[in-house]
Symmetry: C3
Subunit: 384 residues, 3 copies
């Protein structure tokens, strides 16, 4: 047994609050060897240089520190011991222990990425002991439609497919940031331009019979305008991610034109991750009534530094506009740490503000509950 198994958030104002993770993914249900585990513990698409390990990072240290005790190891257990214990317990037990300890009440699960390798929303939620809802990825739906449509019917076929996919979904997700950058023309593309773009896309052969990757800005914009009609919140990848994106083209400020164009419609725009542009995102959340922000992903990857990142997000962001998410994918460590470190980071920030006299304890508790779950409940129409 560990000598100090404590949750990092123990004793803070968010301790014990069931969180709504408004953006995450499923976990891998099979056993992971070292390479497989390390690949999921970084945003890199390649292994590190010879002789190095992804465990030598804030996330790696956080896993060894905070997750090891949940697998009956000492805090700071060696990476090898941690991975061996993981194999010994087996994926189901590991997933159950870590997801179960995350304290998630509701999980909104993005099903549009590596869906075949990951647990479904219902499975993920069951492991966590919470309720699961689906987030529908626009590009994924479009790529599924691609196989059975024509340039002239793409618009209608996509609208129908999206309507169907959205019936039980909590919201949508756009990865335009990855595909063309956020500096796209925000206006709805005219029908003729749409058809021409669809023809280009559908006429291009995918590799090995696969659907060609959707990366045309005209089509990506069209997906967004179609989703807007359906009225559900639209999540945007913004800020950092893997090496496929150009980070400087994922600055959420590049969405300013889109946010202006959609303000009157009132559909919530959820800016995910945002790091290192989370202060910029806070500005957008303050000035646009329909904009919401989080620092999911960054909390996990900045580990011991995550309290500073969370505090920065809360500079300009109104407290009814910040949400919690983990962006966890593959490893249940990411769900657990994403939640535990967020609780701690918000808790420490709030505590400092209370101690400094700026906030009352009552306000700190109320803001904890807004950010932890009540804002998500309001925006997505969830039972809270």
């Amino acid at each position: 047994m560990s000598t100090d198994p404590a949750d990092p958030a123990a004793g803070t104002v968010m301790d014990g609050l069931p969180l709504t993770d408004h953006h995450c993914h499923g976990v891998v249900g099979t056993a992971l060897d070292r390479d497989g585990f390390e690949a999921l513990a970084t945003e890199s698409n390649w292994p590190g240089p010879a002789g190095t390990s992804m465990f030598d990072s804030q996330l790696g240290f956080a896993i060894r520190r905070w997750c090891a005790p949940l697998l009956d190891l000492e805090p700071h257990a060696a990476a090898e011991d941690y991975l061996a214990r993981r194999l010994e317990l087996g994926p189901d037990a590991v997933n159950r222990r870590l997801l179960g300890a995350a304290g998630l009440g509701t999980l909104l699960v993005d099903t549009g990425y590596r869906a075949g390798e990951l647990t479904s929303p219902a499975q993920t939620a069951a492991l966590a002991g919470g309720i699961g809802r689906e987030i529908v990825r626009l590009e994924h739906v479009a790529e599924q439609v691609a196989a059975e449509t024509t340039p002239s019917s793409f618009g209608a076929d996509f609208a129908q497919a999206l309507g169907l996919a959205a019936r039980d979904a909590a919201g949508f997700k756009s990865v335009a940031a990855y595909r063309c950058g956020l500096d796209f023309d925000p206006s709805p593309p005219p029908a003729r331009e749409l058809e021409r773009a669809a023809a280009r896309w559908l006429g291009r052969p995918g590799s090995a019979g696969a659907v060609p990757r959707l990366a045309d800005p005209v089509l990506l914009r069209h997906l967004l305008w179609t989703a807007l009609e359906l009225g559900k919140p639209i999540q945007f990848h913004t800020g950092y991610g893997d090496a496929e994106l150009d980070l400087h083209r994922c600055n959420p400020l590049l969405l300013t034109g889109w946010l202006r164009a959609t303000r009157a419609a009132g559909v919530p725009m959820m800016l995910l991750h945002c790091y290192p542009y989370h202060r910029e995102a806070g500005y957008l959340a303050q000035v646009f009534p329909h904009v919401y922000v989080d620092v999911g992903l960054a909390v996990n990857h900045t580990g011991s530094r995550s309290p500073a990142v969370i505090a920065e997000l809360l500079e300009l962001t109104p407290f009814h506009k910040a949400l919690f998410s983990t962006d966890a994918i593959g490893l249940p460590e990411l769900h657990y740490l994403g939640a535990a470190l967020f609780r701690r980071g918000f808790g420490q920030a709030a505590e400092r503000w209370v101690d400094g006299g700026d906030w009352s304890v009552q306000d700190a508790r109320r803001v904890a509950s807004l950010i932890g779950c009540r804002n998500a409940a309001r925006v997505y129409g969830l039972e809270s």
Copy 2:
């Protein structure tokens, strides 16, 4: 009476130092209902989503915490109670109490925005118990000239009007950031280009007989080059503001070409606000001899986080190049908090540096006085 009415800056190295607010606006002289108050407590141009309040922000919490005791309420008073007490006291008493508590010795007041709704420099200064001077907004003068000029005489008419307006002014202000972004061509526009641009502008009908808004980069550049001739400091809006601007086009680094073009002239260029580009602004202040910076506006809106923002500004900025401002407008709460939180933020940072052994107490006091008023006195030629 409050149980803890203390000024947030009590006991710090800037406590009690009369400050020169080198950029602020007047206050509203009439009673404000909840909507009117909330609209002035955010940079948003629209109300928040149903069921939310602008009081749920760092600024809102700071108002309830630090201003409430000045109106005889408990710290952290409820928003409703705060607004009710404000109405009970009446605008004059509220303005007098809050502005009077700000400890401002000199106020440089921008008169080019909502002038009709706000107190004049003299009135504002009287409420604060300080001395008022005017900052002349270039675009405002140009828009006044527009009614009685022609394309070919615009250059001369503007120069004359600006000369007149500047006679007693402490300096100028440019809102090119709002009108065209800071990535404008920094060279002086040739006479012919100027005339063509003036013709386009003057030929465009304003709404309801109003002067058409000046947004042409050619004209905006011309205003700056005209102001430069007069030798007084030129303030630039940079960084965040309301939803009319594109924040990524308000990065002060986009002024680099302008700063190079004007360095030899030696006219001080005052970069206002800067957030979240205040580190970038600090670089400009270090490398260009005529560049000065502040984090007005951001201090108020980041509230409990403002000490961190102030400390970041002071990374690269030489201590003879940083100034204090509030950018307060409409609400005297913004003048009071802008000053009190700046005193506290600088004081805490300096205290930490003294405690860590990096700074001497004597140096901390001297820098406090440079940033608090002496730099402004030197740059604007004020009595100090």
Copy 3:
């Protein structure tokens, strides 16, 4: 004697660790008057406004605080006393005391800038009591080749000269950031385009018989592709520097295309300085296996704030990807402070993470040694 001569890093986890400074320059061997000293203590190319001093900055305060005791003065000695004592001791003694106190085991010295005015790698290393190795500046070699080449033979002549220059060098340095910005086309320029660009460059007369400054993006790209062939690490100036660069065009993210194009080659790309884009640089270091980062230069210039900057660098950067450098040039104060403040900054950050339970002390020591020297040894193939 000083009442408190302690090294700022005393007692921290990096205290006493011999550091490898993977990017610095030599020192001035002659006596410096006030103007000469101040010019080297800022990134500005011009003196400050009348009545101001570069000593009124974080760096100036750090010099007076931490370097004064090494010259037998009290901490926080007045600038005049400090400069007088410097003259009294003479440049050799000053260089020896300060460089000797820096605790540098190995110094990689950029010889391509002001080489005639500064000590050589061997001299600099001797003053420091360490081992010196050379970093070859690509643009410097090209400018030397310019005098004796033709447009059609430039490619071959440069390759030969670089091969020769690199024989004993530890690596290369590119200042493309200064010359054209980092947003250059990352592909290798075709031979014909190269020849045309060389003709333009060589046909342009330099001032007073001097070699014309190399600023053509085609040529600058070609230098990089030539260096890549030689397989040694390539250092890039990124982030802030003097007023000749456009800081927003020195964002390391603008290298993303170049990093993608060179990933498979595996040659280490060393992003220097990075401030204020060090979080962005950390992202690149995480996702690209061949990218390394430091915050040299910024540590000196942010002084009392440097612990915060170092902590931010270590948010996304894997610990096997961060390096130490001073970027010191001219003043041995910069070598000493660069090392002492880095030790303190890393030490304080690590201590906080250990105290907060996130890191073990053993891990903190191991990371200190990775960042302090072992990463450099691995990447540059140094004896460690």
